[in-house]
Symmetry: none
Subunit: 209 residues, 2 copies
């Protein structure tokens, strides 16, 4: 059952009012915004919205309007954003922390541990662009085909993992970058598994190929 046009307007006003002032509106504030002549107009609309289940009215309390949809499942978790990783230092070292960013952990699986700023275009065909924040689950294990954050000697890189028998390869997703084969003399470790990407377009700029 969906809202009528007028009910939607009332609902939008409540949301807007809460965002701008931090408080739900009173009946009187709804009345003055919509130029109603009677507080009962607002009251009836609120009752209708409650009947539709989109808000909850707390009887007898001032501004007792609660949004039922918005209140659900917000367990924001703040993850560290890792910037340029300097050689020879562990990836989560304090000096690599660029910022802290809240994300919804339940949106990613497995559980994310940190965000890594992507440097370079080598994974562009996998939809991972320069400057993107890669959402990473910290783990030393990964299956062939997964996108991983890997360390070769002291270099951190993001590539697709490919295991052929005992040989490990890191596949770039950009025709200009050849696959990387791990030599016997190289130190290799998987730092984490890519579980998501967060990108911000800077000023309407588009990452095109």
């Amino acid at each position: 059952m969906s809202l009528t046009r007028r009910q939607q307007a009332i609902y939008d006003f409540i949301v807007e009012h809460m965002e701008s002032t931090g408080l739900p509106p009173t009946r009187a504030q709804i009345v003055s915004h919509f130029r109603f002549a009677s507080p009962n107009a607002a009251q009836c609309h609120l009752k209708a919205l409650e009947k539709h289940g989109v808000i909850e009215l707390l009887s007898g309390t001032a501004r007792g309007i609660r949004l039922t949809t918005a209140t659900k499942g917000r367990s924001a978790m703040s993850l560290p954003v890792i910037g340029r990783v300097s050689a020879g230092r562990p990836i989560l070292a304090v000096e690599h922390h660029e910022a802290q960013m809240p994300i919804e952990p339940s949106h990613f699986s497995p559980k994310p541990h940190f965000l890594l700023r992507v440097d370079g275009e080598s994974m562009i065909d996998a939809g991972i662009c320069d400057g993107d924040l890669l959402v990473v689950h910290k783990t030393p294990e990964a299956r062939s085909g997964q996108i991983v954050v890997a360390r070769i000697d002291d270099e951190i890189t993001v590539k697709q993992l490919k295991r052929t028998g005992r040989r490990v390869e890191l596949i770039a997703h950009n025709p200009n970058y050849p696959p990387i084969r791990i030599g016997r003399d190289q130190e290799f470790a998987i730092e984490g598994l890519a579980v998501g990407v967060i990108r911000a377009f800077s000023g309407g700029q588009v990452p095109l190929r």
Copy 2:
């Protein structure tokens, strides 16, 4: 100048109350929580907190307590996730709300208003894949070259905007999709501007081309 132990407790109670009920507490609620005998105890504490600049009191309004910006920055802003948009209904209508997700608004510019779930592969060469959440700034205006959320008649689509003189074209970024030219008889509106992308890899699955 920092808060006293007692003032901190009052402040914590306000934050906790707002998180659990969605409303700031009244003086009476502070009184009953701290077992005060007088409403003035609460009133004086609120005045002290306001003097310290951590809250703002809206004079004469019920529950008129606002947490100042310093504390607001810590908690992420929760944006609605818009799923499949049904024809003929406004994009932000309640029935399209799929979920609510906290994000860091300052990470995106201009200010994001909602998240739109991307349907289809038409923008894959711009790094926007099927199932991605597009971070959208709601605006009816956009410049040529920007990626927009547009409505043609009753269909919502994500494309790159191209203006050539008076003609408007929507460019897909996938060689299999031709550009869309807007006819004179078609209703066209820009719903918003893409300011970012959030993607979750489902179970190590990689979006490859």
